[in-house]
């Protein structure tokens, strides 16, 4: 018997264990905190990778927690989609944590630094838990772990942070709490109709329950959609996001943009395709509403980004726009649409991760975040700004970079669905993206010199930025690699 069998649960337990240890170690054995935190994240990543390879080789893995058979016990179910998401979450999470070890040293209060690592690991544990679970209530529990950790991470910088940090965190907290309540009500209604919490079992029982409670199931779906729309900052429920980003430390923003809102979008996709059944969801009309909202999010997010001068807010509104792509792709109900949406989850994590961390490096060195102060930084911090520029070009969708590939597949998806309005939306949004990202690149490289004497950030910060920047190139050229697992996920979603 091998330990491989336990990887689905250990992916979650490794960061969880280390996050419990961190506060004690921070009190008495401070120098051990970073090695333990990083090795837990690395362990979780390697186990996710190994599980993904195993899933690719021999199909989905089911794990029964406590050796209780589902549907009575909690089941962890790692299929192609879960395995893919677990790798994305743990890989990007590990890079951000490496970066954070140095960043937190300067820009997080000493009093809060131990707590920072505890919460960051707890966030990763919660997100991996959401990804691997096969139980709707378990999904909610991990959702709450992840959400509570992220509310607390916003003002974590303490006195070194900005003035409005508590207000931003509080706004995030109560938007998030409303969302959690909606999701819990959705779970409650579905549980009432089916009498089960296991996803596979619920999917089996729902068609029958629909006969008996036709409106209840639609209400449950509606609660889920609104709840997760708030959690993944889908326009017009995105209002918490720009504020939270403007006040939180940059690694926290990278975790939020790269992982949290992606996993929330994943949860929505999971509920649509594996629990409610996409045929039923599109029959209710909620899906077409969601399409229109996502299309609006794409355009409005980009327009709002154009009006900003604060780099962090530009990137935050860009995230609002990009989450629109992900939701739009998932709601098109075409093979290419879903594949493009899933690929965009990875690609946006890498691109936005690179950009947010690069801006973090500038803030670490100079404290500046207004785009007009970025003149000449291209010469002063060539590697950081190189990665930033590649990621920005990729975001616009210049071939052969990553953003081009996922947007191209999304475009094919809209054509396949004959929703030509959305084809136009995606094309128009690429032009809008070009407006604000070219403006950033222009300021950084071609607008003279106001940055003053600055040099590159320390290696612990620079290396993750460069890896993500290279990722923005190579995941575009080698997009076939993630696509092998994505096509299988799409096929098993029944499209």
């Amino acid at each position: 018997m091998s330990i491989n069998r336990h990887f689905p649960v250990l992916i979650v337990v490794a960061p969880l264990l280390a996050s419990y240890l961190a506060p004690m170690l921070w009190r008495w054995q401070r120098r051990l905190v970073k090695p333990i935190v990083l090795s837990a994240a690395a362990l979780s990543f390697s186990m996710s990778l190994s599980t993904a390879l195993q899933v690719l080789r021999s199909g989905p893995v089911s794990y029964h927690v406590g050796s209780w058979e589902p549907p009575w016990g909690i089941e962890l179910y790692v299929d192609y989609l879960s395995a893919y998401m677990a790798v994305v979450v743990t890989a990007v999470g590990l890079l951000i944590l490496i970066y954070a070890t140095e960043y937190a040293e300067k820009l997080v209060d000493e009093k809060n630094r131990g707590l920072f690592f505890t919460l960051a690991l707890l966030l990763i544990a919660g997100l991996t838990g959401m990804v691997v679970t096969g139980d709707v209530f378990n999904l909610f529990v991990f959702l709450e772990i992840a959400s509570l950790a992220s509310y607390a991470l916003v003002p974590i910088a303490g006195k070194k942070g900005s003035k409005g940090r508590f207000e931003a965190s509080f706004r995030y907290l109560y938007m998030g709490a409303i969302a959690s309540t909606f999701i819990l009500i959705g779970i409650g209604l579905a549980y009432m109709a089916t009498g089960t919490l296991n996803m596979a079992d619920m999917a089996r029982l729902l068609p029958e329950a629909r006969q008996e409670y036709p409106r209840l199931i639609v209400a449950s779906l509606g609660f889920f959609i609104v709840g997760f729309s708030i959690k993944c900052a889908l326009f017009p429920l995105h209002l918490w996001l720009p504020d939270a980003y403007a006040h939180a430390p940059m690694p926290v923003n990278a975790l939020s943009s790269g992982l949290t809102i992606k996993v929330m979008a994943y949860a929505m996709i999971r509920l649509f395709y594996s629990v409610f059944g996409i045929g039923f969801v599109s029959g209710t009309g909620l899906l077409s509403a969601l399409q229109v909202i996502a299309g609006t999010a794409i355009i409005v997010g980009s327009l709002l980004a154009i009006t900003q001068n604060d780099v962090i807010r530009i990137l935050a509104y860009s995230s609002v726009s990009q989450i629109g792509y992900i939701i739009l792709g998932a709601t098109l109900v075409t093979k290419d649409g879903l594949a493009g949406s899933l690929l965009h989850i990875l690609h946006h994590s890498v691109m936005k991760g690179a950009m947010l961390l690069a801006v973090g490096a500038v803030i670490y060195k100079t404290g500046k975040r207004d785009i007009r102060d970025y003149r000449g930084l291209g010469k002063r911090m060539p590697y950081t700004m190189g990665a930033f520029s590649i990621a920005a070009l990729s975001m616009v969708g210049i071939p052969p970079l990553t953003g081009f590939v996922s947007k191209w597949i999304l475009l094919l998806g809209t054509v396949e669905a004959k929703s030509y309005a959305f084809t136009f939306v995606i094309l128009a949004s690429s032009l809008l993206n070009a407006v604000y990202y070219f403006r950033l690149i222009n300021y950084i490289h071609f607008k003279g010199e106001t940055a003053g004497e600055v040099d590159e950030a320390p290696p612990a910060m620079l290396i993750p930025i460069i890896i993500l920047g290279l990722g923005a190139i190579f995941l575009g050229v080698l997009a076939g690699l993630p696509l092998t697992i994505i096509w299988k996920a799409v096929a098993s979603a029944g499209l």
Partner: protein
Amino acid sequence: MTEDIIVKTSARLMTPFIQMFGLYVIFHGHLTPGGGFQGGAIIGASMILLAVVYGLEEGEKRLGHDASTVLESSTLFYALIGLIGIAAGYSFLANRVAGIPVGTPGALFSGGAIFAINIVVGLKVASTGKTLFYALSREERP
């Protein structure tokens, strides 16, 4: 803080009973309604009561910050108990099947891992309740 003999005396008299009841709820978590969380909340409330009546410093003497840190990490043992199941060749958090003795149903020492987990959760929740109170009373001004 004003001296109030009635409040102080009744708080002093009540505390042991409140805590005893909390322990009862924790230890009988697998037998009766309640459990680690509920019992822990009761114990936490007793510590908040002492801090409210006798002042924050006095409360800190009873359960210091370091002790809280350790107690709050006690959830570590929850995960470690879960790992026993894996070590025994079953699943994470496996209980009886993994060979943890479960005793006679209905007896105090029964339930196997659930008994131990309730105690761990009780410690954690008691300490967290107290820490939350202290965090709010020493609020950081932005």
